[in-house]
């Protein structure tokens, strides 16, 4: 009882350590908190609730558990993000204090957690509202799993191990990419134990075994779950369920290590050169201090080799999810490139690594390392806040611009002389116009930026969701294809010759069943080609 009281008091004194990062996150993304902005998959989930089974289609069977428990499956402004931030802040706090067991000053702790928490890898998580809460909360579940597994090495092995395994399995069931956090944290902890506590190989082996059992069991059970869901047609055969073979895993090691290192210099929208520069500096100084410590305290070649293996393991763990994916995956996202550049999966590894590096440097005896760690953290925190607010501003302006465009398109449709108020149309939208890019000054050599910058708020294949969103009654039905039997001479004339891209008067066609919107020149050409094929086959 006394012990429990002490534990509660300890947690109480740690309280403000996560409050500061939470405040930093809230300020960094305040334009998103106070302006309700949603991604292109959110239109329907905003109106309807997310049921527990909503994620089964892509195998994410636990994705909506927390959303249902906490918000009754609803996407609610402010709460959705702020609860996610709460879990994320508390997870980094607990990871540092109860897993890595660092005990620097309170100022340093709050600074390091705030810095790691606000790293702009989080921005991709904030694009889709329907998964924000769960994606952020997996960090907390994984932290609990890590702490439980660590506890298993000390006492009650089976109990704690089972607890750790269940938590990891639930987290992976929500988003398999969050495996990166687990393995990155484990590698960091092993390096820490080897350097600071000078554990022998056998002592480390016990540690590795406890975590490896959990990892293998959780991944194995996840694979079994996927197979079951696919066999029962709950789940599509998705890109994220196709795992690499053992041979592929070995072959991919050099590529994955290279990708992990390149990630320190490769720029993407909102992951600027200056940000990457600070991250690289932190990592290089961390490696330097690890090697200095290793050579200073050990002459044993086996120990040195072990440290090198652990660092190699750490580099693989940073891109662990990309390493596990099959080379023959059938989706563009699952190819090694861009899978190795996915900001969403990096979110689960790089902030953990940076948090660990800052703590590690701070724990060293040399004052200069503490000072460097402090300076790097402050400059990184300032860069993070600026970057996150710039992202929020771009998000806000892009969302406003695209919605204004949608309003103008709907006005044009409603004012069209063939438009009938009581008709329900199939809307064929040719092309998409992502407008966030208008408000972002793209630097040279920036790669990708799917959800962070380039994805539009309206996808052409779910046109019915957003065209109906503000309409007094649903006037668009699901589906985007034109049936050959519905082709009329007027539609044929429009599609074959008249069609011109928005905002030309001939960018819109309306008859009794269809509304065609030629939004972009590329979309228009694609639609025309599709029409020609359809027309030819019909003739």
């Amino acid at each position: 009882m006394l012990k429990l009281k002490q534990d509660i008091n300890k947690i109480k004194t740690d309280n403000y350590l996560w409050i500061v990062p939470l405040i930093v996150l809230c300020i960094s993304f305040s334009p998103l908190l106070f302006n309700f902005i949603w991604g292109n998959h959110d239109w329907l989930p905003l109106i309807q609730d997310n049921r527990l089974t909503s994620g089964l289609i892509e195998g994410r069977f636990s994705q909506y558990i927390l959303l249902n428990l906490l918000l009754m499956g609803k996407i609610l402004p402010i709460l959705n993000i702020i609860i996610g931030f709460f879990f994320y802040s508390i997870s980094l706090c607990y990871l540092g204090r109860y897993y890595f067991k660092f005990r620097p000053t309170k100022l340093a702790t709050t600074l390091y957690i705030s810095t790691a928490a606000s790293l702009p890898y989080i921005i991709e998580i904030l694009y889709f509202h329907f998964i924000t809460l769960s994606l952020l909360s997996w960090t907390f579940i994984i932290t609990l799993s890590l702490i439980a597994t660590q506890k298993a090495t000390e006492k009650n092995f089976i109990l704690w191990e089972t607890f750790g395994f269940i938590l990891l399995y639930i987290a992976l069931g929500g988003y398999p990419g969050c495996i990166n956090m687990y393995v990155t944290a484990v590698c960091c902890r092993l390096i820490q134990l080897k350097i600071t506590q000078q554990l022998s190989i056998s002592q480390l082996g016990k540690y590795i075994l406890a975590h490896a059992i959990n990892l293998i069991l959780a991944l194995g059970l996840l694979k079994i779950t996927f197979d079951y869901l696919q066999q029962n047609h709950f789940m599509m055969n998705m890109y994220n369920s196709q795992a690499a073979t053992l041979l592929e895993l070995i072959q991919k090691i050099p590529t994955i290590v290279q990708a992990s290192i390149f990630a320190f210099t490769e720029t993407q929208p909102f992951l600027s050169f200056s940000l990457k520069g600070i991250l690289s500096t932190i990592f290089i100084i961390f490696l330097f201090s690890v090697f200095i410590q290793t050579f200073k305290t050990r002459k044993n070649k086996v120990d040195i080799l072990l440290i090198l293996i652990l660092i190699l393991g750490l580099l693989i763990s940073l891109k662990f999810s990309a390493w596990l994916i099959s080379n023959n995956a059938d989706n563009a996202f699952a190819k090694l490139d861009p899978a190795t550049s996915m900001v969403r999966t990096d979110f689960y590894s790089y902030p953990i690594l940076i948090l660990f590096c800052l703590y590690f440097m701070h724990e060293q005896k040399k004052q200069i390392l503490k000072n460097i760690s402090f300076i790097c953290a402050i400059s990184l925190l300032i860069t993070n806040i600026n970057t996150n607010l710039n992202f929020s501003k771009t998000h806000l302006l892009g969302f406003t611009a695209e919605n204004k465009l949608l309003e103008r398109i709907i006005n044009r449709l409603e004012n069209h002389h063939h438009y009938q108020t009581n008709n329900v149309y199939t809307v064929v939208q040719a092309g998409e116009i992502p407008l966030r890019t208008k408000y972002y000054q793209k630097k040279a050599h920036e790669k990708y930026g799917y959800y962070t910058l380039n994805t539009p708020y309206s996808r052409h294949w779910i046109a019915f969701e957003y065209y109906n969103f503000y309409a007094p009654q649903d006037f668009v039905q699901e589906g985007t294809s034109i049936r050959p039997e519905d082709l009329t001479p007027k539609m044929i004339a429009f599609l074959s010759t008249q069609m011109t891209s928005w905002p030309h008067p001939y960018s819109i066609y309306v008859d009794d069943n269809y509304a065609i919107i030629a939004l972009t020149p590329e979309g228009k050409e694609l639609l025309r080609n599709q029409f020609n094929l359809l027309h030819l086959s019909h003739q």
Binding site: P31, T400, P503
Partner: protein, 519 residues
């Protein structure tokens, strides 16, 4: 660093930190509606999308204006942070000012002083344009640091170092917004009054202490002038100084202006509010006259007060353009006179003055917040209304049969629409454009505004409307058919040009221009 601050009595204690935090909270609350609703002025349109460069302010001689932005936000105008940083600087600046003036230290005193000064509606004038908010609020901090350090030079062993830092502070602020010179001398005048009345310093002592301040300001001003000569800015509307011949006449004129400021009303600072401020000021002034016993001393205090009040219009005295009753200039001038009188009331003895001070400043703080919220409500309504018109204009253009999004049009906006005044029913003697009437859809920003939210870029920003664009058809349209928005004939599009007529005044002026082109 800690030792250095300790020596300067600038190491914040518990009361200071608490006062700072509470004041910062109150200031943010007063302007919360602005912080949460990202509104920007007509100069900001391009900068919101792009970024501010160090050189962006050079053309009008404001060569340091964007240094803070480059350092703090990499040149970005960022929602929320823009206000938060600005208010943090303002709060810190006012805390140093409280120390500089030796205002009686108490939590409530400091909180009231800082919050009251910062929430005056003058501050709103720095929030219309988001591209200068951080800089112009930071200048108050730098100016008070300069004044504070200059005061300590006399007794310090680091005379040169302190002087150099103070000169740098003054120079940076002058390079960012020259009318801050008002603040230098109002605050200095205030310090002299306070030192003479409360600290019983002799004239000789005052001269010994404050000669460094004047000297540093003069050196900074000379450096500022030299910098302007080197940079040779294109647009000197705000830098044109009076000739020596005119100064005597201007002196008399500015004395009158400076005293009239007590009663001249501007938007969101109406007569009732101004009277309350005047009552507070007069009681503080009279209170200082009761402290010394000799008539000569009383006369001297009156002289100091007159000098300080006159300093609130120093910019008006020095420059050719009319700068009187302009809120953004008064922010650095008359706003600090109110700060001085509030500070004196909170320090004066007997205690009845202090009690009265707490009551009236609390009351005025509430009025400040009410005025700020009223202003921000009106700003938001005006902003939304004007941008709604912009949306409609864009839609009308896109739907126009002559419009082709693949063309590059030369564009001209005839007149502009300012809708904030539509939502304001208060009365004022002098209009202040930054507080109320300047439009979001300004004429000269028409092209940038039109394309702000559109997917296509169809305006030729390099070429304006050309004389050869005024064909007989165009001439005839504007002379006989054109009407102001929202009439169908408010938009004219052919294969080369787009012209929008926003209001009748603009149309009449445009017609006159056309007549000169085709007499």
């Amino acid at each position: 660093m800690k030792e250095f601050l300790k020596k300067l009595n600038l190491l914040p204690g518990k009361t200071d930190l608490k006062a700072w935090l509470i004041s910062f909270g109150i200031i943010n609350f007063a302007f919360l509606y602005h912080t949460l609703n990202f509104m920007w002025g007509n100069h900001d349109v391009k900068f919101i999308k792009e970024e501010l460069l160090l050189s962006s302010g050079l053309f009008e001689g404001r060569f340091t204006q964007f240094i803070p932005y480059r350092i703090l936000t990499s040149g970005q105008i960022l929602p929320i942070l823009n206000n938060l940083l600005g208010f943090a600087f303002l709060t810190t600046g006012l805390w140093i000012l409280a120390k500089y003036w030796n205002i009686k230290k108490s939590l409530i005193g400091y909180v009231l002083f800082i919050s009251f000064v910062a929430t005056q509606p003058y501050t709103l004038s720095w929030m219309y344009f988001t591209f200068i908010t951080i800089s112009c609020l930071l200048w108050t901090l730098l100016a008070t640091v300069g004044l504070y350090l200059s005061e300590h030079i006399n007794e310090s062993s680091y005379k040169v170092r302190l002087s150099l830092i103070a000169i740098l502070c003054f120079y940076l602020t002058l390079g960012g917004y020259p009318p801050i010179i008002n603040m230098f001398f109002v605050c200095l005048g205030g310090k002299i009054i306070i030192s003479y009345v409360f600290e019983q310093k002799s004239l000789k002592q005052l001269f010994q202490i404050h000669k460094f301040t004047v000297l540093n300001i003069i050196i900074a001003a000379i450096l500022f002038k030299i910098s302007l000569l080197i940079l040779n800015p294109n647009n000197v509307y705000n830098l044109e100084t009076e000739s020596l011949n005119n100064l005597p006449h201007k002196f008399i004129q500015t004395i009158s202006i400076s005293f009239k400021q007590f009663f001249i009303t501007v938007p969101f600072m109406e007569m009732g509010y101004k009277l309350c401020l005047a009552i507070m000021s007069f009681i503080a002034i009279i209170g200082t006259l009761f402290i010394p016993s000799k008539a000569t001393q009383k006369m001297l205090i009156i002289f100091f007060w007159v000098g300080t009040i006159w300093a609130t219009a120093l910019t008006t005295f020095l420059v050719v353009p009319h700068t009187e009753y302009v809120s953004r200039i008064d922010f650095y001038g008359f706003g600090f006179l109110y700060a001085l009188t509030a500070g004196i009331l909170l320090t004066l003895t007997p205690k009845i003055y202090q009690s009265f001070g707490v009551i009236i400043i609390t009351f005025l703080l509430c009025l400040n917040i009410l005025n700020d919220y009223q202003a921000l409500k009106i700003w938001k309504q005006g902003h939304d209304a004007e941008f709604q018109i912009l949306d409609n204009v864009v839609e009308r253009i896109e739907n126009h049969p002559q419009f082709n999004a693949n063309h590059q049009y030369r564009f001209y906006q005839v007149g502009d629409i300012s809708l904030r005044p539509n939502y304001y029913n208060g009365s004022f003697e002098f209009n202040d454009v930054f507080l109320l009437t300047i439009p979001y859809l300004a004429m000269w920003q028409g092209g940038n505004l039109l394309e702000f939210y559109t997917p296509t870029a169809y305006i030729n920003h390099k070429l304006p409307l050309l004389p050869e664009d005024i064909t007989p058809e165009v001439y005839d349209f504007f002379m006989h058919k054109a009407q102001a928005w929202p009439h169908p004939n408010s938009i004219y599009i052919n294969q080369d040009i787009i012209i929008i007529v926003y209001n009748q005044v603009g149309l009449d002026s445009f017609k006159n221009t056309l007549r000169t082109l085709r007499p």
